[in-house]
Amino acid sequence: MIRFDKVSKTYPGQKRAALDEIDLEVTKGEFVFLVGASGSGKSTFLRLILRETRPSTGNVYVAGKEINKLSSWKVPKLRREIGTVFQDFRLLPNKSVTENVAFALQVIGKSRQEIDQLVPETLEMVGLEGKGHRMPEELSGGEQQRVAIARAFVNRPKILIADEPTGNLDPTTSVGIMKLLDRINRTDTTVIMATHDSSIVDQMRKRVIELNEGRLVRDEARGIYGYQN
């Protein structure tokens, strides 16, 4: 599903590489934790998958497409196969829960019928049934993150990228979010989650990829957090 083939990335004006000779593969339906200190290269790793940037050397393959060779007008199509969730939720404050989720489908030109079917279905799946008319400010942090997950998943992407999705949430709420991501993963969706939350990683016992100063320092099948600040 995702393959990094000797990938290095150095940003213009920087001496040190943000990513250095990364070689790895993530197969379909895997759940992967991406750990490492701030500045270790996690964000660059995720940005490469989303084709928000290109590698300096090496190749990145996502959903069968070679990122380097992907022309810019094909990038939107790639991104429709990837859902993204952020630490700060990034909901549109002037739209209701339903409208926020529907927005993701409207802007890629889905029909009204599809939207009317998929949005309530997804809201139910993330546990927000009956809250579709609420505005984001009326929701708790955990609920807002569920809306963001619904928006990322409503188009049934092959890959879900979560960039510290529990970073703003208390431990109990975080567990709920992890259960939701696990459920999504069981629909054969590949999940890649960057996190600093050791208890979650230790509990889930999924594959752990650790980056340190741009280098891949650990890749364990059923790993624990292990990384110390």
Partner: protein, 304 residues
């Protein structure tokens, strides 16, 4: 589509003041541009009426010509031939064209038909009131004395006019007015383009969150650009409509209400059909003015 239209509505209401200022600048610049184009149409019309501004006009005798060379009444075929031969053999003459009395009568009808007094005058006139004329193009337009002195004394020649001397001031005024209006229009067009760019930058900033999400979920570039393009298009069409109304008012009050009546004897004035052509051009111009900076700026600020 419904989503795009609601985005457009939201965006227009969010940017009301920016949009109004853009529409004002754009309509004033389009109005000036259309005046410039209308003056151009007027100059063309005047030129068509009088012939080329650098020509000499040789009028032969009519039955009523008072000149001493017209004692025999209407110029005879021999006299016509002699004048034509003289023009052909004169080295200062480049070429000449013939306008028949009937053509001259038609021209006069168009001119005099513009006013009431002119229409009354027309009742007493017929094609035989008008001379046969030769419109002479000179090798050097400054050097017309030789030809004038040669043909003005010939039998059958009623008079010789230098159109350059007659019409020079009129054309000069039209030229100046045209350049003044087009020059000012150009300045304002630059301002309008900058305003389009500014509006887009501000809208892109106001909508950065939406745009970020759109890019992330895989909205195509045109889908992200479309609300901006539509917004500019709406502003452009409103401006074009305002400019067209301004031009229509000018036609109604100035051209039809004043010029045709009071200055109808000078030349034939522009008509509604000229104004409609100009409106078509300015509408096209407004669309280009709005779309090009919008497409360039959305690429720059939206990173699509």
């Amino acid at each position: 589509m419904r989503a795009i239209l609601s985005e457009l509505r939201a965006s227009l209401s969010r940017n009301t003041s920016m949009t109004i200022s853009l529409v004002v600048t754009m309509s004033v610049s389009l109005m000036l541009a259309s005046l410039g184009l209308l003056i151009q149409a007027q100059a063309d019309r005047t030129e068509r009426y009088f012939g080329d501004r650098l020509q000499l006009q040789v009028n032969l005798c009519t039955k009523n010509s008072p000149a001493a060379t017209c004692v025999g009444g209407v110029a005879t075929d021999e006299q016509k031939q002699a004048v034509q031969d003289a023009l052909r053999s004169n080295p200062e003459v480049k070429s000449f064209s013939v306008r028949s009395p009937q053509d001259n009568f038609e021209q006069a009808r168009a001119l005099l038909g513009q006013t009431d007094t002119g229409r009354k005058q027309l009742e007493t006139l017929g094609p035989d009131s008008f001379p046969e004329s030769y419109f002479v193009t000179l090798n050097d337009p400054q050097d017309f004395d030789g030809v004038v002195s040669q043909v003005s004394g010939m039998d059958g020649v009623g008079n010789v006019n230098s159109l350059r001397e007659l019409l020079g001031p009129l054309f000069e005024m039209l030229d100046k007015l045209q350049w003044a209006s087009l020059g000012t229009a150009l300045l304002l067009i630059v301002a309008a383009i900058l305003q389009v760019s500014n509006t887009i930058r501000m809208t892109a900033f106001a909508r950065r969150r939406e745009i970020g999400i759109m890019r992330l979920v895989g909205a195509s570039s045109w889908h992200i650009q479309l609300p901006f393009v539509l917004e500019s298009l709406v502003a452009a069409l409103v401006s074009a409509a305002l400019a067209a109304s301004g031009l229509a008012a000018f036609m109604h009050f100035v051209v039809y209400g004043y010029l045709r009546d009071t200055l109808g004897t000078i030349t034939t004035w522009v008509r509604w059909q000229d104004a409609f052509v100009v409106m078509g051009w300015t509408t096209a111009l407004s669309i280009v003015l709005a779309l090009i900076p919008t497409l360039v700026m959305t690429r720059k600020y939206l990173n699509v």
